[in-house]
């Protein structure tokens, strides 16, 4: 990673930010756009969280209490899409917008106007997404989207007009993601400070380079798939309609060719955050830089050719399922390598446990647990038993919450003092960490057992024998959901004031971003930094 001896004066800012609404509507400044991404993601996190709490309220007891089965499944669909496309991806894009130019010594993103467009497509897409949930409640609105986020035909061909809103929302979200990815790749390739080689970039930048390529390669395939779905619904084609000679399984392949790499799209930026945090609070250089870069590229390549482990039960040949099983298990090698590199970075380090580091250690433990249940699910005969059970729900929440969401929280706590110029309240942040992590485990750990005992997912009712564990899980979920109000409070409190943060906020922090003032000037790196060799 590059460090800099700087001939960069902090106060050569040419002018301050524009004032009023136009600052945000027409912004081409990477910091403002990064902030908008993060605020948008926070709003979506609360909407997606509200739908999750309704789901858990329904599952608190057996029988139907609050939700009709179709509405329950509509909420399941809505929760997944809001969290994946509305919260996690935009939050990661917010970190990328804020940090990549600061880390590589660039004055801004390479295509600032396109950056503005990438963001402002999102609210329109979110509106479409929310409408897809709301429309069935109006007269003539048709049936609810009860397909889950996978949108499998033939069910998705039979859903009412809300599915069309959802398809357009996915198109818009895809356009936004691809434009943002193009911008990130161009920025990384063309805008690095003179002398900064690719193999000298911070790992966070590398994770985003790999993520952006993944997005460009797989999002258009999803766009193709949902476009075919739209054509089947309205223009008389039969891509997925067996009665017309089509094949519904084709959609599953198209969807999971996007859907599986999407897991890495969500996780890799958070793992990049860990690569910044762990060396800082271990006061040691990152262990195995080159192997981390290699592991990420391996994850990208292998992650794109193992998609069908999500559909073992559709009746593929023995050769095909064997290939997908072996490929899936092989992925655990580069993923495990990343985890071991982070552990080796901590080994014999002078560690301290500020909130970002607490999250980092928690992530390694909980994500590894999710990875182990992933290996169980990768094994074909075992998966035949586990599939479509609550065990799968527990597994992917152990992967995605620590692997993606907690990593983003860690990043926010790590860089919030740099962004705002104020230290956050460490005591409150630690309380948030413990409540968040404990309630997360109370929510999802019991779901492994009820899943193994046979409770199916995506069904609003369940057998009496699952009552106790579901009640525990729901109580955990309510605490988990409400704990995010504390996060909101801490962030607002930090933005509004607090102890002045140093330029180098953390004693062990290294990298170009720490050479700038806290908060950084509105236009930073207008003079390229001179890198120390």
């Amino acid at each position: 990673m590059s460090t800099a001896t700087l001939a960069h004066d902090h106060d050569h800012e040419h002018h301050g930010p524009p004032r009023g609404l136009t600052r945000w509507l027409f912004s081409t400044n990477h910091k403002d756009i990064g902030t908008m991404y993060l605020v948008f993601a926070l709003v979506m996190l609360f909407l997606g969280g509200a739908s999750a709490m309704l789901i858990r309220a329904e599952l608190f007891m057996p029988g139907l209490q609050l939700l009709e089965p179709d509405l329950y499944n509509n909420l399941v669909t809505n929760h997944a899409l809001l969290m994946i496309f509305g919260a996690v991806m935009p939050a990661a894009a917010g970190l990328a917008n804020w940090m990549i130019p600061l880390m590589i010594g660039a004055p801004d993103m390479a295509l600032p106007r396109m950056n503005n467009l990438s963001f402002w497509i999102l609210p329109a897409a979110a509106l479409m997404l929310i409408l897809s949930f709301v429309v069935p409640f109006f007269p003539g609105g048709g049936t609810q989207i009860n397909t889950g986020w996978t949108l499998y035909p033939p069910l998705s061909l039979q859903v009412g007009m809300s599915m069309d809103f959802l398809i357009f929302a996915i198109h818009l979200l895809g356009i936004s993601s691809v434009l943002a990815s193009i911008n990130i790749i161009v920025t990384i390739f063309n805008m690095r400070a003179p002398g900064m080689k690719l193999m000298e970039m911070p790992i966070f930048v590398w994770t985003w380079l790999v993520t952006a390529f993944l997005l460009i390669l797989v999002v258009p395939v999803l766009a193709g798939g949902v476009t075919m779905l739209l054509f089947d619904r309205h223009f008389g084609t039969s891509f997925f309609n067996a009665a017309g000679g089509g094949d519904p399984v084709l959609f599953q392949h198209l969807f999971w060719f996007f859907g599986h790499p999407e897991v890495y799209i969500l996780i890799l930026p958070s793992f990049g955050v860990l690569a910044s945090i762990i060396p800082t609070f271990s006061r040691k250089p990152l262990f195995g830089y080159k192997s981390l870069v290699g592991a990420m590229i391996a994850i990208m390549v292998i992650g794109m050719v193992v998609w069908a482990h999500h559909q073992y039960t559709v009746g593929m040949s023995l050769g095909a399922v064997s290939y997908f099983m072996v490929g899936t298990i092989i992925i655990s090698i580069p993923v495990g390598l990343m985890v071991f590199n982070y552990m080796a970075t901590m080994w014999k380090g002078a560690m301290t446990f500020e909130t970002p580091m607490l999250f980092a250690v928690g992530i390694l433990l909980m994500f590894s647990f999710g990875g182990l249940t992933g290996i169980m699910l990768a094994v074909v005969p075992a998966d035949m038993q586990y599939q479509d059970s609550m065990f799968v729900v527990a597994h992917f929440h152990y992967v995605l919450l620590p692997g993606a969401v907690f990593g983003l929280f860690a990043g926010v706590f790590y860089w919030l003092p740099k962004w705002t110029g104020h230290m956050y309240d460490e005591k409150l942040a630690k309380i948030f960490f413990w409540v968040n992590v404990i309630s997360f485990n109370i929510t999802f750990f019991p779901q492994h057992f009820i899943g193994l005992a046979g409770m199916p997912r995506r069904i609003a009712d369940y057998n009496m024998m699952f009552t106790e564990f579901n009640a525990v899980s729901s109580i955990g979920a309510f605490v988990f959901g409400l704990s995010h109000l504390l996060l909101l409070y801490i962030v607002i409190k930090t933005v509004r004031g607090g102890k002045q943060a140093d330029d180098r906020v953390w004693e062990g922090a290294k990298g170009l971003e720490w050479e700038l003032s806290s908060p950084p000037p509105f236009h930073s790196w207008t003079t390229a930094p001179q890198l120390a060799k």
Partner: protein, 49 residues
Amino acid sequence: MTMTETMTPEQRRKNVLLAWILAGLALFMLLSSVPFWKGLVHMLALSGQ
């Protein structure tokens, strides 16, 4: 002064060129997905018989 105003024409040309190449890659993935996946699924189905 915005970033777009301070960028040299050569830098801007390089950025836009790379952006178009990447957009072309995305378009290729979109357009090739339909025949490619139809063929692959057909092949997988046949191999299972």
